[in-house]
């Protein structure tokens, strides 16, 4: 199993900015959840085996073997679509969630092994800002109490000192000192997010995890909050792990960017490099799908087919392979490029059942206008074609039809997709950057 960040500190010394020490270093981090809890959940009855009753829980591999490091004063952008595990990663890094495996070295100390009081004290150096500005502030507390709470928990200052600090923090984040006595409902979304900022900063942390801090805000307010966050970072020397689904926001605020897909980091590079020279097909697809606010720029969009698979049973090898537009041809069949592209299209169409049953010749013409591949590959395609041809499906019940489709799909997947290197090895490659000289990691076998 390979993982990212096996060469963390060495290559980091390349730029002047990151000559500074590494503040956070995450290695081989995993967070798995078991589904269901309770006495009888997960009980499986299988009369064919002995004993006939088993208990087993499905494991959701929310974060699966992730490594990265963040230098002091840096912003690492963590981007991915919903369900990719980015929020879980953020929380696990702070040990708000218990990691399943891996190490989290913060300022030289392994957080994963800390416990109790030591961990609690360490937390004074870390803060978190959550996405929903309406749910993350207690409506019955005044803004002052909210901002002071972490200071109280860590026994910082006396009452007077805390009040003075809270008021000055409110001004730092762009609010007024007299807002100290107000309640959250008196504030707009953007202002609440500023209160969140003040609270996160109250114990003077070095490191702040920002989980989608601006995605609930309108564009104009979002810009205000982003600018404030950038100013505070400079002023207080903060290090951010900035989690977002919006690549535009990431491009604005991050120094380096990690792209997550289905629990793993698929690409990690300096910002300019990642946006201008993306090397992983998933990153490329993400970038191509964002609507660009320029009508003269006709974007290619919707380049990805299908949906993210379940993290309970993720694809082997490269997690992105089931949707990858450039899946590598399996060896041994002697596929030409065009042949493989046609075959790949056909395999996915059968799997997703996207065409209506038609005579085999018609389907063949549609997917293989140049003719089916030669040799063994061709025979397999022909077998699948006949399984789902109109003649075969005619008069069958729906269940039997579904079985036919399934059979064809299994045959094709096992013969082709599962044989590709993409299905057999977990990718991990370093590529030469074009922009800047930072490390560029891309988990794609095309770079082998």
């Amino acid at each position: 199993m390979s993982s990212f960040g096996e060469t963390p500190t060495g290559s980091d010394s390349s730029t002047a900015e990151r000559d500074s020490e590494t503040l956070l270093e995450v290695e081989g981090l995993k967070k798995h959840f078991t589904t269901g809890s309770g006495l009888l959940s997960g009980l499986r009855v299988d009369p064919g085996s002995f004993p006939p009753v088993r208990r087993e829980h499905e494991r959701v591999r929310a974060v699966d073997d992730v490594s990265f490091s963040i230098a002091r004063g840096e912003t690492l952008g963590l981007v991915g679509e919903s369900g990719c595990g980015k929020s879980t990663l953020g929380r696990t890094v702070l040990r708000l969630l218990e990691p399943t495996a891996g190490t989290i070295r913060f300022d030289g100390e392994d957080l994963a092994s800390l416990g109790g009081e030591a961990l609690r004290r360490k937390r004074a150096e870390m803060g978190m800002i959550f996405q929903d500005p309406h749910a993350s502030l207690n409506p019955r507390m005044t803004v002052g109490t909210i901002v002071e709470e972490p200071m109280v928990a860590h026994g910082m200052l006396d009452g007077e000192g805390r009040e003075a600090r809270a008021k000055s923090l409110l001004e730092d984040v762009g609010l007024e000192a007299h807002h100290y006595h107000r309640y959250p409902h008196e504030f707009s979304g953007g202002q609440r997010q500023r209160v969140n900022l003040a609270r996160a900063l109250s114990v003077d942390p070095d490191f702040v995890v920002c989980d989608e801090p601006v995605s609930a805000l309108d564009v104009s307010v979002q810009a205000q909050v982003l600018n404030t966050m950038a100013r505070l970072q400079a002023e207080f020397g903060l290090t951010y792990l900035f989690i977002a689904h919006d690549l535009s926001v990431i491009r604005h605020i991050a120094d380096r960017v990690a792209v997550m897909y289905l629990g793993t980091v698929v690409e990690l590079a300096e910002k300019e490099e990642l946006f201008e020279n993306p090397q992983h097909p998933y990153t490329q697809a993400l970038l191509e799908s964002i609507p660009v606010p320029d009508p003269r720029e006709s974007g290619t969009r919707g380049v990805l087919e299908g949906e993210v698979p379940s993290p309970v049973d993720p694809p082997s090898g490269c997690r992105f392979r089931t949707r990858c537009p450039v899946l590598i041809a399996p060896e041994g069949y002697g596929f030409g490029d065009a042949e493989w592209e046609a075959t790949r299209g056909f395999v996915r169409a059968v799997k997703r059942r996207t065409f209506e049953p038609a005579p085999a010749a018609e389907v063949r013409e549609r997917f293989f206008p140049e003719g089916v591949p030669d040799g063994e590959a061709g025979e397999l395609v022909e077998t699948a074609l006949s399984l789902v041809s109109a003649a075969e499906l005619e008069g069958l019940e729906e269940d039997a039809r579904t079985a036919r489709w399934h059979e064809a799909s299994e045959l094709l997947l096992e013969s082709f997709a599962e044989e590709s290197i993409c299905a057999r090895e977990r990718p991990h490659y370093e590529v030469d950057p074009v922009y800047g000289d930072g490390e560029h990691l891309a988990a794609c076998h095309r770079h082998r």
Binding site: S220, L226, T228, E398
Partner: protein, 375 residues
Amino acid sequence: MTDPLLRVENLTTQFFTEAGTVRAVDSISFEVHEGEIVGLVGESGAGKSVASMSLLRLVESPGEIVAGEITYKGRTIFGLEETADGSLSERPEMLSEEEMRREIRGNEIAVIFQDPMESLNPVFTVGGQLREFIELNRGLSKRVAREEAIRMLREVGIPDPEGRYEEYPHQFSGGMRQRVLIAMALACEPSLIIADEPTTALDVTVEGQILDLVDDLQEKYGTSFIWVTHDLGVVAEICDRVNVMYLGEIVEQAPVDDLFYETAHPYTEALLESMPRPDLTVEEIQSIRGVMPSAIAPPSGCRFHPRCRYAREACKRVHPDPRRVATSADGETHRAACLRHDVFESGYEASAPLEHATALSDREVERPPGGEGGE
């Protein structure tokens, strides 16, 4: 020019609340022609959703359409006339509630909402809901309607439509549910679809798929769209013409290219500047000062003036309506409601700049001096 499919004139919708009258939509006018996608853009609270629901007369109490005229294919969806005693009453040719329900909603004008989970009934199968909708609206038999439903599901890109026909909404992902709603909207082959932030809740790759789908379907069926969104990226991608709304009013109306390249209203300009770009690295984004004020007591004069960097004395006094400020190459009108344009003859040039505007134009953006309570 042919008659527009939909013409909206001076539409005004208000909500009568205890706190006062909310002027959610204030005298807006626009047209939708056959086969075009018209954008309705603005931030939350701009009135874009109320405006689009008013078109179907689906505004609920305490809201009410109080003025204006909505004409669809020559039929009057809403229209008032003055009676002998000086009060206003509905015009006789205005469609009745029954006619709206039977002939307009769904059949002629369909809606796609932002949250597909709220539009689908969780206790019925997806296929069943779609089939019933087709059965009732198109008068088909149950069996034919089922086939039609499966055909529509495949058309909007649902994999394995025969199998998924029997599944429930919770078994579908967000993107797939939105596809089901599009299938439902298209099922009666309406001439106009109102899409209210249909891709806002979706991930970008899924959003891309849906935008592609809309493009394809529009080409195939020639349906017109009113696309309600806050995302100028989506607007640039799919809209033909755009209306920018601010605090209940349309402040700029232009073909999409002109909106981005010949921007004529400071609000549109500020919106464009405040967006981080996916295609460029922008070191500093210019934010808009403050927040949108309440629609109960909107600012005097130009409603944007307290946040505008070009604001002058005249902007506090004179309330601009959208007027023609330019004509694009292909003869389309570009309207803007800003006194800086000559057509207004408001004495803007001669009046003194407002204090905050001077500060703003010095790029003093983060926190205006004298701070008026942040945003």
